[in-house]
């Protein structure tokens, strides 16, 4: 009996609504964030992650309002990411009711933001999101960190970057394989394992989940502490309770 592995549904939010994309093309409305959050909570989600995918800065304030409303009705940890740039952004999200804030691109532009925010608010609320893609360089390959949703290469080695982020105060890492994201072929287990073996903080595996076995593999083979998925839950293929039952039948500790 021990700490449960976590299942975290990810909700993409823009213009005040949850949206879901099909192969990143058209975005379809998937409902009111509070209602979707409540539904996942009732199904047994261990945490919720909200990703603000609003492109323009005009509607950025909306996510604060959404988090405020979700936090009044859903009593599990809430993580918010997307466009977090400053210490002030982190403060505003925490004050709105987020328990953790996920930082990606701005950590690459200014790594010190991880130190500043974790020393101000505590490591427990600073998640660093790393998007990585296997990159060939001569005869060697490495996992390269990408920003802006996978569009911009950084030259950074994802494993070294993960270690650096933890040393600056990240309390958790969210690792997304750009090679796998949207493919439904499962997590990049080698990537997850390579990072999980190197750092002390919990790892959330993301990118590529297509069926329930993938969740099990992320934990058992990848060594992840939590698994994040969007489409298998949004499209109703699986309920979180089904995912948990399957994990349990594979001898993974879960919260029922």
């Amino acid at each position: 009996m021990s700490l449960a592995k976590r299942i975290i549904p990810c909700l993409d939010v823009t213009d005040g609504r949850v949206v879901k994309g099909i192969n990143f093309l058209e975005l379809k409305d998937a409902g009111d964030p509070v209602e979707v959050a409540k539904k996942y909570n009732e199904q047994g989600a261990d945490e919720l992650t909200f990703l603000d995918i609003t492109a323009s800065s005009d509607n950025r304030g909306l996510i604060l309002h959404i988090i405020e409303n979700v936090a009044k009705e859903v009593f599990i940890p809430l993580t918010v990411g997307g466009g977090v740039r400053t210490v002030e952004d982190v403060r505003n999200l925490l004050n709105a009711g987020a328990d953790k804030v996920s930082i990606n691109t701005s950590a690459i532009i200014n790594p010190d933001i991880i130190y500043q925010t974790s020393s101000r608010f505590g490591s427990q609320c600073i998640v660093v999101a790393i998007d990585a893609k296997l990159t060939l360089e001569g005869s060697k390959s490495f996992w390269q960190v990408f920003t802006h949703g996978g569009r911009n290469a950084t030259r950074l080695n994802a494993i070294e970057w993960a270690e650096k982020m933890v040393s600056l105060g990240a309390g958790e890492l969210l690792i997304t394989s750009m090679d796998r994201d949207g493919t439904k072929k499962g997590f990049d287990l080698e990537l997850i394992k390579a990072i999980s073996d190197k750092v002390d903080v919990p790892i959330i595996a993301s990118g590529g989940v297509g069926d329930l076995q993938h969740l099990v593999d992320g934990i058992k083979i990848g060594g992840a502490d939590a698994v994040l998925a969007a489409s298998i839950f949004h499209f109703g293929e699986y309920k979180i309770s089904e995912a948990k039952a399957f994990m349990k039948s594979n001898h993974i500790e879960i919260r029922q």
Binding site: F121, S123, G171, V201
Partner: protein, 210 residues
């Protein structure tokens, strides 16, 4: 009135929201005013971040004596660092706590520890773990033994005084995750983020008569 003590360390809205959810009619105040704490019928002492910062911020707001008074006189609920600060001292920054209870706050050691699936033990201890109740207490009413609560911490309580232990959790080792003494109840986990079990504990606290 229920006072949730605010000493500038992080967001207390989750705690406020959870109390409001359980008891919409209750007068609940997030406050850093000693007069409120004195007047309150129940006091909640939360905390997040690093304990040295928490102690410093508490003192900068001159709240130390209010907290100690409340902890000696009325139903008092410590949460997370709010539990840790009640004790003698912490390894985190080698700082002294409020010394209301005897015990030391220590850091999890993962040098030679593996979790139960053979992976390296992660720090912080983050997520839902089982809380095994070791004594009967009004705050455990209607909460099943070994129900899971949400934890996020890197330090834990080690106390020689076994009489105050009210629940234990395992994370590579067994540690005390809830203490009870007279009017004090304090938990290492976050009831405000622990869904139904957490709300139940908060409800029990609101109804607790000592």
């Amino acid at each position: 009135m229920i006072a949730i003590i605010d000493y500038g360390m992080g967001n207390l809205k989750s705690v406020f929201n959870a109390f409001k959810q359980v008891s919409p009619e209750a007068d609940i105040k997030v406050t850093s005013n000693p007069a409120d704490i004195k007047k309150a019928h129940r006091v909640v002492f939360p905390g997040q971040g690093a304990m040295p910062d928490c102690i410093r911020e508490l003192d900068e707001r001159n709240l130390r004596s209010s907290v100690i008074d409340a902890a000696k006189t009325k139903p008092f609920l410590g949460i997370c660092i709010g539990l840790q600060m009640l004790f003698d001292k912490s390894e985190e920054g080698n700082v002294d706590g409020l010394g209301l209870l005897s015990g030391t706050i220590k850091r999890f050691n993962n040098q030679n520890s593996l979790d139960e699936s053979g992976h390296k033990l992660k720090i912080p201890h983050m997520g839902w773990n089982e809380v095994s109740q070791t004594n009967k207490h009004p705050l455990w009413q209607n909460i099943s033994d070994n129900d899971r609560f949400y934890f996020v911490h890197s330090y834990y309580l080690e106390s020689q005084d076994k009489s105050i232990v009210s629940a234990e959790t395992s994370y590579a080792q067994k540690f005390c995750c809830a203490i009870a003494k007279d009017n004090i109840f304090a938990v290492q986990f976050h009831p405000e983020k622990s869904s139904l079990a957490g709300l139940e504990l908060i409800k029990n606290f609101i109804q607790w008569s000592i």
